[in-house]
């Protein structure tokens, strides 16, 4: 009896899982990018051991942000992240942000100088 109940529950679960229209709550469908306004760091010069907040401002809806640093880690996600210096990395560090919405994507970069 218990096996039948478990089997039935499993079937319902699979059915509901399959039946869900992925587009119902898909942010991609309702996403657009009008303008990537700015990309700024609170500090553009850092000593090793320091960090700085970087903000991207883009106009649109359900915008996705993709971040890359030429060296060292970026913490956080979304339009505001934090760049953290590493012992290994100094000199010019390029931070790149890609803002995407719908079929549009715009890339902006800035340079942070890390002192030796």
């Amino acid at each position: 009896m218990n096996k039948k109940i478990v089997l039935f529950a499993l079937c319902v679960f699979i059915f509901l899982g399959c039946n869900k229209n992925e587009n119902d709550n898909d942010p991609e469908r309702d996403s657009y990018l009008t303008h990537f306004e700015s990309l700024k760091a609170e500090q553009d010069t850092l000593k090793r051991g320091e960090s700085t907040v970087i903000k991207a401002v883009a106009i649109g809806k359900n915008i996705k942000y993709s971040w890359t640093a030429s060296e060292g880690p970026i913490l956080g996600e979304g339009p505001e992240v934090k760049y953290v210096t590493s012992p290994c990395c100094y000199g010019n560090i390029t931070i790149t942000c890609i803002a995407s919405g719908g079929n549009e994507s715009v890339t902006k970069s800035l340079i942070i100088y890390v002192l030796l």
């Binding site: 051991g49 971040w67 913490l75 956080g76 934090k82 290994c88």
Partner: protein, 313 residues
């Protein structure tokens, strides 16, 4: 001869992932060939292993660094690997290895944040020919030529952030591996010596990053102790001393100064020979001496377990 080679196999398997490092300064995981030893013709060997490593202290040169430049509080990785080998003939063995990083995590001092990479590492395909074999003197020389093949050439992103190169599960670069293995056995004493020399060369990634070359030497001494009961057929004590020199990484042909190191490890190991040709092994990497260019995160400890079995095909 066969038994002790088999036992040495295990320790070298686990030794292999010692090369998988996790931390910025220490370098990225270097996929490297497995050392499963020469197999007899038509023998298929499969081995699985797990390794954990932890890093929590910065070094400058060979001294601990207590300044505030380092942003990582602690780094760890958990790695599982799968190795297989097949004896095409008594003189040539083909090997294939791959692995998966369950996690590769940096815990940062800032706001208790962390970054984690995970996923498939690299695959290494290699061929191991026998160079010299003297059964009377129980002496054998073989070598390995292999190539490292990354599962991805793109850097991994997590939550929209590209992970630093040190947290990437794959080297994202192709590479070459050469290794020589010199084995001297003494079946009367059930002991053996193995000297293993290994060179790893990695090519530039498509992002312009190049890992430094790695040179390592490992000296193993193993002694087999016979036991006869239904659960255990014997066990082997293995002592290994390993030296590893890693060259500086470079970015667009510019050397990154705070990379590259020279390390010595003491690695004790126990291997159990179980019925039906199963072997189980465990080891601990203990750093004895570590020297780093500039300031880098140093390995604290690492341990590994592995299990393998032979099949006749």
């Amino acid at each position: 001869m066969t038994r002790s080679i088999c036992i040495i196999i295990l320790l070298i398997i686990t030794h292999k992932t010692a090369n998988s490092q996790c931390c910025a300064s220490s370098g990225n995981p270097i996929g490297s060939t497995v050392n499963i030893g020469l197999l007899d013709k038509h023998i298929f060997r499969i081995a699985a292993f797990y390794r954990f490593s932890s890093y929590d202290e910065y070094y400058i040169g060979d001294k601990k660094y207590s300044g505030n430049i380092g942003s990582v509080e602690k780094a760890i990785f958990n790695y599982v690997g799968l190795l297989s080998a097949y004896g095409i003939s008594d003189r040539i063995t083909l090997e294939l290895e791959t692995g998966y990083f369950i996690n590769k995590t940096h815990f940062y001092k800032i706001n208790d944040q962390k970054l984690t990479g995970y996923g498939l590492a690299d695959a290494v395909i290699s061929v191991r020919p026998r160079i010299y074999h003297n059964p009377d003197k129980q002496f054998e020389i073989s070598c390995t030529f292999g190539s490292n093949i990354p599962f991805s050439r793109d850097l991994q992103q997590v939550n929209g952030v590209t992970l630093p190169i040190d947290l990437q599960p794959s080297t994202v670069s192709f590479g070459l591996v050469f290794q020589s293995n010199i084995i001297k056995e003494n079946s009367f004493r059930s002991s053996s010596f193995l000297l293993l020399t290994r060179i790893e060369k990695y090519f530039e990634t498509k992002q312009g990053y190049t890992f430094g070359n790695s040179y390592s030497n490992s000296l193993f001494f193993s002694k087999f102790f016979f036991v006869e009961n239904q659960f255990l057929q014997g066990w082997t004590s293995v002592l290994q001393i390993r030296n590893q020199i890693r060259g500086q990484n470079s970015w667009s042909d510019n050397p990154i100064k705070a990379t590259g190191n020279c390390s010595f490890f003491f690695i004790p190991q126990i291997s159990l020979s179980l019925p039906h040709k199963w072997n189980f092994s465990m080891l601990v990497d203990v750093p004895v001496y570590q020297y780093f260019n500039e300031i880098q995160l140093a390995k604290k400890i690492s341990y590994a377990i592995s299990i393998n079995k032979d099949f006749i095909l």
